[in-house]
């Protein structure tokens, strides 16, 4: 490959950066259009209740109120959802969690909209709640969903892995770890709350600006719920203020609500969540109870594992079944085994509702198994890092599901990098020798992880891109995947410019608009750079072929005789042609300089019933070391250092990739130490960012990170994915460091001072 101009260059900057740094980006909450109505939502104060009376007529009598809607205003009562169709645009017959939307009022002013919400006549008849997953399947438990998807009450879904038979192997193991772990609900807490603006169109359709992740799914749901044909619904992505998996289903509801109000009133309608609404109404990371049995032989070789997971989906399924499928595929961690069984049950409760969140099941699974592996290492008297090196997945190994790793795996290199850079051997020895009565104690902990790339067995993994030369010789690029801050617009711009051999500022990437971009599936699973990036590269290659054809014609040579120098096209004999000259010649030849391309992950098959098959086409790997300082008197943990190595194939956009790494680690630190979103008797215990603590600049240490280059990445230029998986290593590394510091083995996150305080 010729030397790259843009890919992997340190100096490349975010294409959206300056506009945002200057405060000029207009997010949906910043958009005002003439005649716009403000919408406010009536939300359930109860975790489970029958709606015995709901009348919005009194709201309509409030001055300034223009319209009010309930589930009756939608097709099929607003029923939607994938993979399980159990959700509603507005509550139908029952409410199932605190904060669930019941009705929406649109008014001339926010004050009038609030007064309208107050005026709605609502009677709720409280129903018994399910607040503990361990009692969700009790014979007398109230059934939460309208229709049980499994026919077994609150059992929402199951996932299994059947790789060999672990039982005889475990029976022979001299060491079997057998422990339970608990990971909490976590709030995404994107700085920008949920919001949507709908504008009615003269053709009877509607245009929606929403800060959702997946515009085409949103379009199709809005269409289904409003009864419009999809082509009359247009979804446009404004700049988006962070999502982390959290802006899908909740935005589909919100978008359908404002679309329906805009259609009813003939006026634009905007709905922006207050932070309290965002905390109450949005879905969370699902809490999980994880039971692990892991056996090793006398030499410390892992033999077999059994994982039983119980996950709290809350009131609706959202993406929890898929997140828990991923959790099951990763539950025994990044190691070689002779046999593994996994059994996961997803349960309905009235604890809010849960869905997609960075790491998608693997965040919980990796937290549990990496603490478990650490425990096992200690019981075997082994250094935890050595023990991981002995057992970790390498190129050609079979994963816990029996899948063979066909691309180069960088896990060993990652572990060796963090060992060296964290000064592991020296510090571990020094901290092991700390006096037992020291008030402030330090500890070092390690975690390793693997993460299946893309959607895997969840579904067809594709994206599409268009690229066209404009009259001013600029290039307009689209892809149906959304940039909500992770930098994919920058990555796509780099890929197009690099592939075409043009200047970076020639390429203008449009934000997804369902009228101009092509359906690219959901913007999830850290798939943008890989799947979207390959689609962009393919589109750029197609356009490059057209330009090469035209240049060869103009230069009177064969296409393979052409050379490129920057934007110049050079033939064997004549004067080189500029990009503009080639475009002019192509146009004179009658060539259409616009292309579309689609890229699809090679197809794989996972048998959900048998628990066998190939769950993912490829994997990424990583390792982290955390260093903590624990005050034995207060129990407070301070993370003083994190060292992180991630196998990322080739890095496309270094600044952005490092930003993903740092951000993922900060989020993992929050998951480890502060972020449990608690429900008591199905009542949320926090509703704002004062009581739900997020990591601040003073909580996050200086991080030393690196990307280990490996070959055969599936993405453009050999890239692998990184936005989510980096997060999954952090919490267990911290928990394991806390163990070295205190001797207290915490099996429940978040780690609170109460767990570590000594009563002296």
């Amino acid at each position: 490959m010729a030397e790259l101009q843009y890919i992997g260059k340190e100096e490349i900057q975010n294409v959206d950066g300056l506009v945002r740094a200057m405060g000029e980006a207009r997010y949906v909450c910043d958009m005002h259009v003439p005649g716009m109505l403000i919408a406010k939502v009536l939300r359930s104060p109860l975790p489970h209740a029958r709606i015995t009376h709901l009348d919005v007529t009194p709201a309509l009598a409030v001055p300034g109120v223009v319209a009010a809607i309930t589930s009756a205003d939608f097709e099929e009562h607003g029923n939607f959802g994938w993979p399980i169709k159990d959700a509603y645009a507005l509550a139908y017959e029952r409410v199932r969690y605190v904060g669930e939307a019941i009705a929406v009022v649109a008014a001339e002013t926010e004050t009038a909209a609030r007064a309208g919400v107050e005026a709605i006549a609502l009677t709720l008849e409280p129903l018994p709640v399910v607040s503990d997953i361990h009692h969700a399947l009790d014979p007398d438990a109230p059934v939460i969903p309208q229709i049980s998807p499994t026919g077994k009450g609150n059992l929402c879904d199951v996932s299994i892995v059947r790789n060999g038979d672990p039982d005889p192997l475990l029976a022979e193991c001299p060491f079997v770890l057998d422990e339970h772990y608990h990971t909490p609900h976590q709030e995404h807490a994107y700085l920008e709350t949920e919001g949507a603006l709908a504008i009615p169109e003269p053709d009877g359709g509607v245009t929606v600006y929403a800060n959702n992740q997946s515009p085409f799914i949103n379009r199709d749901i809005i269409a289904a719920l409003t009864g419009l044909p999809p082509e009359q619904v247009r979804v446009i992505q404004p700049p988006i203020g962070g999502t982390f998996g959290g802006k899908d289903d909740v935005l589909y509801q919100t978008s359908a609500q404002v679309a329906q109000l805009a259609l009813l009133t003939g006026r634009p309608v905007r709905l922006i969540f207050e932070r309290t609404e965002s905390m109450l109404a949005s879905y969370k990371r699902q809490a999980m109870d994880i039971h692990l049995q892991i056996g090793a032989d006398a030499q410390g070789n892992l033999q077999a594992a059994r994982a039983v997971l119980l996950a709290d989906s809350g009131a609706y399924a959202s993406m929890t079944p898929m997140a828990c499928w991923r959790a099951t595929m990763h539950a025994a961690g990044a190691y070689r085994y002779r046999a593994v069984h996994g059994d996961t049950q997803v349960l309905y409760t009235n604890n809010g509702y849960s869905g997609a969140f960075r790491g998608f099941g693997n965040t919980a699974a990796a937290a549990a198994v990496e603490i478990a592996i650490d425990e096992l290492a200690y019981r075997l008297g082994r250094d935890p890092l050595d023990f991981r090196l002995q057992n970790c997945l390498r190129t050609g190994d079979r994963t816990m599901t029996g899948d063979t790793i066909t691309q180069e795996a960088g896990l060993t290199a990652c572990l060796e990098w963090v060992r060296e850079h964290a000064d592991w051997d020296r510090k571990r020895a020094a901290y092991a020798a700390q006096p037992a009565d020291a008030e402030v104690r330090r500890g070092l902990g390690v975690a390793a992880y693997f993460h299946g790339s893309g959607l895997g067995g969840e579904g067809l993994d594709y994206a599409a891109s268009t690229l066209a030369v404009e009259p001013d010789y600029s290039l307009v690029l689209t892809c149906g995947l959304t940039d909500f801050g992770q930098g994919s617009r920058t990555v796509f711009t780099l890929i197009a410019a690099e592939t075409l051999g043009v200047k970076l500022d020639r390429v203008h990437m449009l934000r997804p608009d369902t009228r101009t971009a092509l359906d690219s599936g959901p913007t999830v699973a850290s798939r943008s750079s890989i799947i979207g990036g390959n689609a962009v590269a393919l589109a750029a290659q197609k356009l490059a072929q057209l330009l090469t054809f035209a240049a060869a014609d103009a230069l009177h040579c064969a296409p393979e005789q052409l050379l490129r120098d920057g934007e110049l096209f050079i033939g064997p004999s004549e004067e080189p042609l500029s990009f503009e000259q080639v475009v002019d010649h192509a146009r004179a030849m009658g060539l259409q300089l616009s292309v579309a391309a689609r890229w699809q992950m090679p197809e794989i098959h996972w048998d959900f019933q048998k628990g066998t098959g190939k769950p993912y086409f490829g994997y990424v790997f990583g390792a982290q070391v955390a260093e903590v300082e624990v005050s034995r008197k207060s129990g407070k943990v301070r993370v003083v250092g994190i060292w992180a190595a991630h196998d990322a194939g080739r890095i496309l956009y270094p600044r952005g990739a490092m930003g993903q790494m740092y951000g993922a680690i900060a989020m993992g630190l929050g998951f480890a130490l502060m972020e449990g979103f608690r429900f008591e008797n199905a009542l949320p215990q926090t509703t704002n960012l004062t009581t739900y603590r997020l990591p601040r600049a003073t909580d996050v240490p200086e991080i030393e990170g690196t990307f280990i280059p490996t070959r055969q990445g599936l993405g453009p230029f050999g890239a692998k994915n990184l936005a989510e998986p980096v997060m999954v290593g952090t919490a267990p590394a911290i928990a394991n460091a806390v163990f070295q510091a205190t001797g207290i083995r915490v099996r429940q996150l978040p780690i609170t001072p109460e767990m570590l305080k000594t009563s002296r």
């Binding site: 740094a21 801050g485 200086e702």
Partner: protein, 161 residues
């Protein structure tokens, strides 16, 4: 309510404002200066930060009436002499400190407030000064990088002058 104050270097006199108006609503809803963000309404996130007489101020918790006679600078008021981005705004982009960008205006305000008081802060002092501002994307490290580099570049420029 009548309110006179200086906004982004220009004197301003406003009539008939609601008495209860917050500074954030004044900026966003009345003046359409939407660079100042609403993140939490409880003073926890700092996305609404502005400079009031050079001091870091949470606009969501500040009644508009309180800025009478003061000089308020919002993110839109932070510009280089040519009207383009400041050195700090450029540095945020250069060091990768901007991801979703929703916290960025507040972060830049917090950084300018710090640099007014302490022109050459340590990384620890920078982190402390940012502790009233939440960022969910970046893990803060590149934000600290950008502020540290800008402080050093400004110091070099001062020495040269």
């Amino acid at each position: 309510m009548r309110l006179e104050f200086t906004l982004n270097h220009h004197p301003l006199a406003l009539e008939e404002l609601p008495d209860e108006l917050s500074l954030l609503d004044l900026l966003r809803e009345v003046l359409d200066l939407t660079g100042t963000k609403r993140g939490c309404d409880t003073g926890a996130c700092g996305a609404c930060a502005v400079l009031v007489d050079g001091k870091f101020t949470r606009a969501c918790r500040t009644p508009a009436a309180k800025v009478a006679g003061c000089h308020v600078i919002t993110i839109e008021g932070l510009r280089a002499p040519d009207g383009g981005p400041t050195d700090l705004q450029r540095a945020f982009v250069e060091f990768g400190a901007v991801q979703c960008g929703f916290c960025t205006p507040g972060m830049i305000i917090a950084a300018e407030a710090l640099l007014l008081k302490n022109p050459l802060p340590s990384r620890e002092e920078i982190r402390k000064a940012l502790s009233g501002n939440l960022c969910r994307c970046t893990g803060y490290q590149q934000i600290v990088d950008a502020i540290e580099a800008t402080a050093q570049r400004r110091a070099v420029a001062r020495q040269g002058a």
